[in-house]
Symmetry: C2
Subunit: 406 residues, 2 copies
């Protein structure tokens, strides 16, 4: 019989106390459960009169977002913890440190980041994060390169892939991103005002074709260890610092999926900007900044990735002239396609983003929804003919129906 049970706040405090060296001996600990309650309990343990603190994150055996009827393997807590450890070893400054864990109880004790802001919230508030593209570009390049056959021994990579087989969490992605938005599914959710858009999505078989190619690649291409859910709600930011959290969807998949997640979520915020900006000038500045960030994320990724390839390539055949360019372009095309899929599903699928859903003005909200869909569809439709990041930006501008000078 499993010893698993959901932790109480008192148990969380005891766990925190039992970790050597994390708190002063006589510290009086306090604990608050701060999770959003969808997939996990999150305990924030602090010491009175001190700045010592930590987080205990525990998986629960179901996904609340779709009711308790969607059971989820507790093994995802191990997967998340091992992914955190791998990412932290590759990018110590960009990933919280793991202090301890129990696979049986499905919890991980880790660095507290409560000084940080969830990036999605920061973007909605109109904050600028001038280091973000550089940081996330480095995170993407290092985690993807060093867990691929390019930068990791190929036998070791296969063993590692076996530890990141993640059927339950992958199924959420497969269903919610690559299937439901294109059919009449009870999981879908959208206001009547854009029912025409949702219906058009269901009938657009040319679009389905491109989505199916991206879906097939998601299902079959174990290119590198992905974060698997790298939206702006999985990233903590401060002005000069970036931390990537929550890799419970980690598995070996196509590199472009992680990159596309970042860019797609920046573009969702871009589509939402008229709903948040105080005036046309502020709107223009924010839009320019978001488009520039999307471009910079790719450029920093590409620069770092090519540097790692040139310095640390293990795979001899990949030195073949022209192959690096081919590989990088394929990843860009995939990233654009996945960015588009992620934008579409956040408008008509099960799980939305507050960037758009909390726009107060109904007209502005609907305009944002339609713009996000237009951009998403344009990226998916044309992803295979993209030749550079400029092409991606051009597809965004085309679909936005307005000029964004950058």
């Amino acid at each position: 019989m499993s010893a698993y049970h959901p932790l109480t706040a008192e148990e969380a405090i005891q766990l925190a106390k039992s970790l050597p060296g994390r708190f002063p001996d006589q510290a009086e600990l306090e604990c608050r459960e701060i999770g959003d309650g969808n997939l996990n309990l999150v305990f924030h343990v602090t010491a009175k009169h001190s700045d010592h603190s930590l987080i205990i994150k525990q998986a629960v055996p179901y996904a609340k977002v779709v009711g308790e009827s969607w059971p989820l393997s507790l093994d995802r807590a191990r997967i998340e913890r091992e992914a955190l450890e791998m990412e932290h070893s590759l990018c110590p400054a960009l990933v919280p440190e793991v202090y301890g864990y129990s696979d049986e109880m499905a919890y991980t004790i880790m660095e507290d980041l409560s000084e940080y802001t969830i990036m999605r919230k920061g973007l909605i508030e109109g904050n600028s994060y001038p280091k973000f593209a550089e940081h996330i570009g480095e995170f993407l390049a290092r985690t993807l390169f060093y867990t691929s056959d390019l930068g990791m021994n190929q036998q070791k990579k296969k063993e590692l892939a076996g530890r990141f087989i993640n059927p339950d969490l992958c199924k959420i992605t497969e269903d919610l991103i690559f299937e439901d938005p294109y059919r009449d599914s009870p999981n879908n959710s959208y206001p009547d005002s854009i029912a025409d858009e949702a219906e058009a999505l269901r009938g657009d078989t040319e679009l389905h074709f491109e989505v199916t190619l991206l879906r097939h690649k998601f299902l079959t291409q174990g290119q590198a260890l992905l974060h698997g859910d790298l939206h702006t709600g999985s990233i903590f930011v401060r002005a000069e610092s970036t931390k990537v959290i929550d890799p419970e969807f980690a598995f070996f998949g196509p590199m472009g999926f992680d990159i596309g997640a970042v860019i797609g979520n920046l573009l969702l915020n871009y589509a939402a900007t008229p709903g948040w900006a105080a005036d046309p000038k502020a709107q223009q500045l924010r839009e320019q900044r978001l488009v520039q960030m999307s471009q910079d994320v790719w450029n920093h990724y590409e620069r770092n990735f090519r540097q790692l390839w040139n310095a640390d390539l293990l795979d001899e055949m990949s030195r073949t002239p022209g192959y690096q360019d081919h590989y990088v372009l394929q990843v860009l095309q995939d990233a654009a396609g996945y960015a588009g899929c992620k934008m579409i599903r956040r408008i008509v699928g099960l799980s939305h983003v507050i960037d758009i859903d909390t726009i107060a003005d109904a007209t502005a909200r609907e305009a944002a929804q339609r713009k996000a869909l237009a951009i998403g569809k344009n990226l998916v439709r044309h992803h295979r003919s993209i030749k550079s990041i400029d092409d991606v930006i051009e597809l965004v501008k085309q679909a936005s129906g307005n000029e964004v000078s950058i």
Copy 2:
């Protein structure tokens, strides 16, 4: 401590006796070790004065073909046995039945096929196998379809993929097929008479590019459970029956790799034909038959695969118009590329084929080697622009430098 040790003939007899119902109670059993000794011990256990018999195959912890210094995981015996069971469940008539096994001792007890001939030997003798293409086309279609995301629940497929992580055996393929022939490797082996060809292969960076694409797909694309080593030495034949054996290289990889293995080995025999045929007329007949078989293997595969897709498709998005055609063409292109890679490595790499190496006449042997290389290179070079099986045959003819009317 592991109980593993290599079985003796006496132990093999005891194991055979312990299986209920396989031999008459008082049967007097005999045992001969009949393996080629490279990777496995193979015991043939028979009962005197009866036609009851069986095979016990046991893995040894090294690959002899490259000296005892190449250690190999014994877990491959489990992988082979589970692959046999999976293949047998999908194609009972085309795969030997498993009677028993021990993972710890790394043996499998299975149906005896000593009435059959190894297909490579039969082809060298000039035999015709009119049912072969139909049988192997069915084997390929059923095993590949039902273990892919098209025909298997996608969560179940991921769990299954975890059981077929096969780093040691995959590395043999990665090194010997996708790397050594294109560089100066101590593993390579070829006569001085074709040193010019081997040198040209090492300098042909356009060819390397195509090989690297095929290598990347082999390393990353978990499309279906492959046999992984489906050459004509892994197939037993009789006039009306075909049995696929030896799936110890099984793993989740690109479908085209198995199909290409069959076609590439038929074409190796085709390239060798002038060295074996009694006269020009016999030569022409054999060549025509082998080219027709290669074509028929694909056609039977395609017909079966499309039927299964139309009848048993589980993946809703894959119903998208045009996607089946796209998918099948991609598999054909891969198959042609992999067929080419396999032909090339059998001429200049570590492990050759007797179809060519045992041609008595040195001139005929060299001509066969050069023809095999020419066909292999032509297939690899042009695999991405192939549109139909006719294109594949055209590439074969082009490179053969003679007309094969079929």
